[in-house]
């Protein structure tokens, strides 16, 4: 286990990335608040970013992983803006942001 050499091995970064991904998925699945689901999605995107940067340093020693992370950050910002606009619109319609209330197309 080279977790003990955490600044020179990739294990630490991968462990953090896995934990963040899992917590993000947990947030997306269990939260009723629509903004809570968005928080989970942001955690997932950050986990992917850490993963790319870690592989870029330890296995590639080149810039490509960091370029992908740059684009991930930009896309996450754009997606957060649009998602929050949708949530605001939904709130105006239903006066709640409970994700279970978005059920007009059900049955």
């Amino acid at each position: 286990m080279n977790l003990l050499d955490f600044s020179n091995s990739i294990e630490g970064y991968l462990l953090v990335s896995s934990i963040l991904l899992t917590l993000g998925i947990f947030s997306v699945l269990t939260r009723k608040n629509a903004i809570g689901i968005l928080l989970g999605v942001e955690l997932i995107l950050n986990a992917a970013g850490i993963n790319f940067v870690a592989f870029s340093k330890f296995h590639l020693a080149a810039l490509d992983g960091q370029m992908v992370t740059l684009f991930i950050i930009l896309i996450a910002a754009a997606e957060a803006a649009v998602a929050l606009a949708i949530i605001l619109r939904f709130y105006r319609l239903k006066q709640t942001i409970d994700a279970d209330e978005a059920s007009l197309l059900r049955n």
Binding site: S18, L39, G40, G49, V53, A85
Partner: protein, 169 residues
């Protein structure tokens, strides 16, 4: 010096845990901010100095404020305190967490072993060099297509968000 990396990793993971579990959505957003800061420090240690700056500017200074605005605008008037974690999800959630983390970690490390690891001196030289000029050059040569596509995406997101959130006519 490397203990700062450990502190940053613990901060990231601990804050993410609070984000996932806390029923108060505002506290979740605040701890998400700390999680972003932890991730920025981790980027610094992986040799991505420009990326750490972008992470703080875009995530802390942009996405966090957006999320806080949305929370404050939708919880203010009606003071809703949604019972957020329905108890029927908690047990599967815990099972997911305890099962998924070792699986992902093992899978990623095996993937890492399949890919050729970089020689240590090349890794150290890469990690210590300033990246801003390299990223700038790469954006205009190798990554020109994603760069232009991102500008169109951001323009679309900008116009779309403003249109979706327009005041009632």
């Amino acid at each position: 010096m490397k203990w700062i990396l450990l502190v940053a990793e613990l901060l990231t993971v601990g804050s993410a845990l609070i984000v996932a579990i806390n029923p108060n959505i505002l506290y979740s957003a605040v701890f998400l901010l700390f999680s972003f800061l932890g991730v920025a420090v981790m980027y610094l240690f992986a040799g991505a100095d420009f990326l750490a700056g972008v992470q703080v500017v875009v995530y802390v200074g942009g996405v966090t404020i957006l999320i806080l605005f949305a929370i404050m605008l939708t919880q203010w008037l009606y003071r809703l305190k949604l019972k957020d974690i329905g108890s029927k999800f908690v047990v599967p959630g815990v099972v997911l967490a305890l099962g998924l983390v070792p699986f992902l970690h093992r899978g990623l490390t095996e993937l890492g072993k399949m890919v050729q690891a970089a020689p240590p001196e090349k890794m150290a030289e890469f990690a210590g060099s300033p990246k801003t000029a390299l990223i700038g050059k790469a954006l205009l040569t190798n990554y020109l297509l994603p760069f232009e596509a991102i500008t169109i995406l951001l323009l679309g997101a900008l116009v779309g968000a403003v249109w979706l959130a327009r005041p009632k006519a």
